[in-house]
């Protein structure tokens, strides 16, 4: 049952990923990406990374995608670019499939069937984050601070009579 669910999720992930690349309207690409992020959250849940699955939905699908869709609608973008030729897509797809087909047995041989019994809950990640990675954590807060200021400065409309 879990296996069937996994394959359905993987197919959805690949399909929606292809949708982001292939669809002509940027808005449809963005909606396809939302589906993709949800399937990735499901993959994290399959790997017992519960905290990351939740964060993925809240931060990516919730915050980042709202921002992207907001910008697409603000600029009222429409699909104006030409579709690349089917021939090139076919060659690229065949090459990618061939490489993967050669790689897959090696990867299957190298990796064990299942991993450890690690549970990525809030407690475990928080403990690691606040002890081993405390410096990176502080730097990350600084980075977000800089990003906020940078976004405001970049997106602000500059007055005509300003220097």
């Amino acid at each position: 049952m879990t296996e069937l669910l996994w394959y359905i999720t993987a197919a959805l992930a690949i399909g929606s990923g292809l949708g982001v690349v292939m669809l002509r309207m940027p808005l449809y690409s963005a909606l396809s990406l939302v589906l993709h992020l949800f399937t990735m959250a499901a993959m994290f849940a399959f790997l017992d990374a519960h905290f990351l699955a939740t964060t993925q939905i809240i931060v990516y699908a919730g915050a980042i995608m709202v921002l992207v869709i907001f910008v697409i609608m603000l600029l009222s973008l429409e699909g104006t670019e030409k579709r690349p030729s089917i021939f090139l897509i076919g060659i690229a797809g065949a090459a990618a499939f061939g490489l993967l087909y050669m790689m897959a047995p090696a990867i299957r041989r190298t990796f064990p069937m299942t991993g450890g019994s690690l549970q990525g809950d809030v407690g475990t990640i928080g403990k690691s984050l606040y002890t081993d990675y405390i410096f990176s954590f502080e730097i990350a807060s600084l980075l977000i601070m800089v990003a906020i200021v940078g976004a405001v400065v970049l997106a602000k409309r500059i007055k005509k009579n300003a220097t």
Partner: protein
């Protein structure tokens, strides 16, 4: 589910994202393809974290998400600012620096 399947899925997703970055002209779609690539790498991070029974991989994914959020804010601000000056977000239209 064998862990190799997650690695294969991650490889496929990364390739799809990379192809999107190379093929698409629209900056916002290119940005979204970068997000796909980041997510593919996140998936392999979590898989290796499970494989080695070590939480560090998941902490890495957390930081990747933080950087992606910062990148989204600044990147979209740059796109708005570019759109104001040349009324387009296509990569082919912003060729001022081209020789």
């Amino acid at each position: 589910m064998p862990l190799s399947n997650y690695i294969l899925l991650s490889a496929v997703m990364f390739s799809i994202g990379a192809v999107g970055v190379m093929l698409r002209r629209n900056t916002i779609v290119v940005f979204m393809c970068i997000e796909i690539m980041l997510n593919a790498v996140n998936l392999s991070f979590v898989t290796f974290s499970k494989l080695h029974n070590d939480i560090s991989g998941q902490v890495g994914v957390f930081f990747v998400m933080v950087v992606a959020a910062a990148e989204a804010a600044v990147g979209l601000a740059i796109m708005i600012s570019v759109f104001r000056s040349i009324l387009s977000v296509e990569t082919t239209d912003s060729s001022e620096l081209k020789l």
